[in-house]
């Protein structure tokens, strides 16, 4: 079988490559590196330098754990899956908002100290742990998923994969809140109460574009979720570890809906006459 032969070749070849990797790196060769880690609670704190042994393949979270085990047992850090799926270990590494578990040391210049600090857009609880509860509160203000009646007598729905694809991109979000961290409206202007931020706009987008959802959240996006504050600098898209095109695919289409509904009198009239989709019930009434 031709397929099997080429497969065997592929395997032998990749075995050779894997062995090479282990010859040159493999975790046996260690070196020392310095991590400049933020220590402190609330508004008081400072960077502290820790030296630890590192080896190829390690990620920043491994180094933090090693420091924790060896030098600083009370060093506070959130983590869970260590595979980029839960979004717990968000931090700023050399000034860049990233997941610690997905940042390999080989990407960083270890001849200099690596700075690791908490997400700066949120209040620090302790060390690398921040108070991200504002995001959970903001989500509750967005009206919940509300499906149309089932399509089939057995209570199920039909939807095309292409329609599913569109929202599946947004539903990949792991709620790491790195986009919130980098958003200047939140980070520099602290408008957490007026602006829900990119994460929650992605959430609103998945609801608005959900093939089964029948609510129209356009009005509250403008009035209470503050979508107008976003001026599309696209920083959020750049830091998203799930590569969600937050600005182009989620926020801009929502902004367009707002514009269509609020600043396009003709369109507004047409919608009024057609009576489709009751626009903008305030959140309190809907729940």
């Amino acid at each position: 079988m031709a397929a099997t032969e080429s497969l065997a070749r592929n395997v032998v070849e990749s075995g050779r490559r894997a062995a090479e990797r282990s010859d040159t790196s493999a975790g046996t060769q260690e070196r020392s590196a310095t991590f400049r880690v933020w220590r402190g609670t609330g508004s008081s704190g400072q960077f502290r330098d820790y030296q630890t042994k590192v080896s190829e393949g390690m990620v920043v979270l491994d180094a933090i754990h090693r420091i924790q085990a060896e030098d600083a047992t009370d060093l506070a850090v959130r983590w869970n899956c260590k595979a980029g799926k839960c979004g717990s270990c968000s931090a700023e590494i050399n000034g860049m908002p990233r997941l610690m578990c997905m940042t390999r040391l080989s990407e960083l210049d270890l001849d200099k100290a690596v700075t690791v600090e908490p997400m700066r857009a949120f209040p620090v609880v302790k060390d690398l742990v921040t108070d991200v509860s504002s995001n959970f509160r903001a989500k509750k203000r967005i009206r919940k998923f509300t499906p149309r009646p089932p399509d089939a007598p057995d209570g199920t729905w039909r939807m095309a994969q292409s329609d599913a694809d569109r929202v599946q991109e947004f539903r990949k979000c792991i709620e790491c809140f790195l986009c919130q961290d980098v958003c200047h409206v939140l980070r520099d202007h602290h408008l957490h109460e007026q602006f829900v931020g990119p994460r929650l706009l992605v959430h609103a987008a998945q609801l608005e574009m959900h093939p089964l959802d029948i609510l129209d959240r356009t009005n509250e996006l403008k009035e209470s979720h503050g979508i107008g504050y976003c001026n599309i600098t696209k920083c959020c898209t750049k830091v998203c570890p799930e590569h969600i095109t937050i600005t182009d695919n989620a926020i801009i289409p929502l902004k367009e809906r707002v514009v269509d509904q609020h600043y396009d009198p003709l369109g507004k009239l047409v919608r009024l006459l057609r009576g489709r989709r009751s626009a903008g019930t305030p959140p309190e009434e809907a729940q």
Partner: protein, 604 residues
């Protein structure tokens, strides 16, 4: 006199993964007051790691499927040690629970006619796993989370429970601390649902997160509940093996479901060499038939890569031991070979297995559309747990319920992939429903202040010990290494005896560990407390494994390599004896109902 924040709930749910969230939702629907406690932030629980899908006989892809086939598959996979009532309820109710998720917002992948798509998985006769690419767990937890936050449920995030409270024989609540500030919280509750997941952190190579320290198992055991089947730990055949820092991270079975194959360093598909008798008639005769199966050919039988996890894991260990493994001590898992079959293979792989593509690219510099992955077994799941009533999920302690991984019975000696997410939904729902019913019938329990004070004093001990004492991390690390080596995938009597001795020494060390700093978000302290649970469950696993002198499912004994029919007639139970000793007993399995017997026969 310690101070507490006091909370009172009719039903307290401990754990906010799939089972805990589903239980809390159901209890809230029933109109009782509900508290939900989770160790992490809401939505971060280990359920997010589930990749492949949720098993339910929807028959959307193959109309020959129905609950009876699913039931028979689950029993066969569990080697008939399952609580057959649970296996029945699970198979019957899983389709409704999956449809309900869709009504709450889950966007599953679709069939061409727009219904929920289902994929093949190990041990399932027909394509049965509803899925969302390879991030089904994330989709499920997010759906439940986004539904639950609009229900009247009090969520206590980043809170760890250190002990259950009792009022005489019945449950009275639980005592914990909030991780952020280190303040103690006293929960009075008429019913408690444990949904704390598993014990994977007892081993060094594991796919489980830090949370998986056997909390619920230990809480239930300490409260007097019986645990069952604890010898059955599932080692998932495919975890990452390189680089060292990611060793153990899961590689979804979905890779094999989509056509991925396992080969040794010689390029041989070694799984064809040893197919177990009870699966022979269901397994492909050659590579071509296996491929056709993964592509939906209903006349084809499944490739041996999709045999049950216990079998595949042991076959990999054998290859490695006999010198045919990959350079870093695993074997090769190859999905890139489908390039020779499909013109759009690269896009297809990225679409079907996006997070696997991402994970290998980012953590190991490997493009899985072009080259094979290196994989090996990783501790993944514990089939054993709190012994519960199959219908209500109540344990032997009145008012104490368990659902999901912390419960036992559904999976018997080995769990089929995809049966975990459906387990969470079916029995999370049942636990919530019956806990609410139970609570509605009860008066408020009396919480004993002395009991609570003693728990708090003990929890604070690590701060009061000699500050030059050993820290908790080293003890935890040594425990994990020991369990991996002596009570791991291949077991022997003499090694497990050594493990029990080692556990004695580790317990001594654990009693002396000290922590520095204060109570605010102090991982050293948290680890010192989690360690107690890990030590308890490790000993339970070792004792149960010693008792089962045969090989079956997830439990493999080098000194008793064959299955012994006599051991197929009972479950092994472990309870805390009156003097704190571990009591090991054998509990006969009730005879299978006649109609269920027939179903199994018909599906042989």
């Amino acid at each position: 006199m310690p101070e507490y924040q006091r909370h009172e709930h009719d039903v307290l749910v401990i754990g906010a993964g799939g089972a805990g969230l589903r239980a809390a939702i159901e209890a809230a629907h029933a109109g009782v007051s509900v508290g939900l406690v989770c160790k992490s932030l809401l939505g971060k629980a280990h359920t997010v790691m589930a990749e492949g899908g949720v098993a339910a006989a929807l028959a959307n892809v193959d109309d020959r499927d129905n609950w009876k086939v699913h039931f028979a598959d689950t029993m066969r996979g569990g080697q008939y040690l399952n609580n057959w009532r649970m296996a029945e309820l699970h198979a019957r109710e899983a389709p409704d629970r999956v449809r309900e998720l869709e009504a709450w917002g889950t966007v599953f992948d679709r069939t061409p006619d727009g219904r929920i798509l289902q994929r093949n998985f190990g041990g399932h006769k027909y394509p049965r796993l509803a899925h969302v690419g390879d991030r089904t767990g994330l989709e499920m937890i997010r759906t439940l989370q986004d539904y639950a936050i609009y229900q009247p449920i009090d969520v206590h995030m980043e809170c760890t429970i250190v002990s259950l409270l009792k009022d005489g024989n019945r449950i009275a609540g639980a005592l914990g601390y909030d991780r952020e500030r280190g303040r103690f919280k006293l929960f009075a509750a008429k019913a408690v649902v444990l949904a704390t997941g598993g014990i994977g952190r007892a081993f060094s190579v594991t796919s489980n997160s830090w949370e998986y320290t056997g909390d619920g198992h230990a809480l239930a055991y300490n409260a007097g509940a019986a645990l069952q089947d604890m010898e059955f730990v599932q080692f998932h055949p495919t975890g990452m093996v390189w680089p060292p820092s990611v060793r153990g991270i899961l590689v979804t079975e979905g890779v094999r479901g989509e056509g991925g194959i396992l080969v040794n360093r010689e390029g041989r598909r070694f799984l064809f060499d040893d197919i177990p008798e009870n699966y022979r008639s269901q397994t492909a005769a050659d590579e071509e038939e296996g491929w056709r199966y993964t592509q939906g050919d209903k006349s084809a039988r499944r490739p041996p890569e999709l045999l049950t996890r216990d079998h595949v894991a042991r076959a990999i260990v054998k290859e490695v031991r006999e010198g045919r493994g990959s350079p870093h001590g695993g074997v090769f898992l190859d999905i890139s070979w489908i390039r020779s079959k499909l013109s759009n293979a690269e896009e297809h792989i990225k679409k079907k297995l996006p997070s696997m593509y991402h994970q290998f690219k980012q953590l190991a510099d490997i493009d899985i559309t072009r080259e094979p992955m290196e994989v090996g077994p990783t501790t993944h799941y514990v089939m054993g747990g709190v012994r519960v009533d199959g219908d209500t999920q109540m344990s032997s302690v009145p008012g104490l319920f368990a659902a999901g991984e912390v419960g036992a019975g559904l999976h018997g000696a080995n769990r089929l992939g995809g049966n975990s997410l459906s387990d969470l939904l079916v029995f999370g729902m049942r636990a919530g429903k019956y806990a609410a019913e139970f609570a509605a019938r009860q008066s408020s329990p009396r919480v004993d202040a002395q009991q609570a004070d003693a728990i708090v004093r003990e929890a604070l001990e690590p701060f009061n010990r000699q500050s030059d004492g050993e820290g908790p991390y080293q003890v935890e690390h040594d425990l994990q290494g020991m369990m991996q080596e002596l009570v791991g995938i291949v077991r022997r009597e003499d090694e497990m005896r050594r493990a029990l001795d080692a556990l004695k020494a580790l317990n001594e060390r654990a009693r002396k560990v000290s922590v520095t700093g204060n109570r605010e978000y102090n991982p050293g302290w948290h680890t010192a407390l989690d360690l107690r649970n890990l030590l308890t469950v490790s000993e339970i696993v070792a004792r149960a494994a010693l008792e089962r002198k045969e090989s079956r499912g997830g439990h493999f004994r080098d000194d008793f390599p064959a299955k012994d029919p006599a051991y197929g007639k009972f479950n092994i139970l472990i309870r805390r004896g009156p003097n704190g000793e571990m009591q090991v007993t054998r509990e006969p399995i009730p005879e299978l109902r006649e109609d269920l017997k027939r179903i199994i026969e018909e599906n042989k």
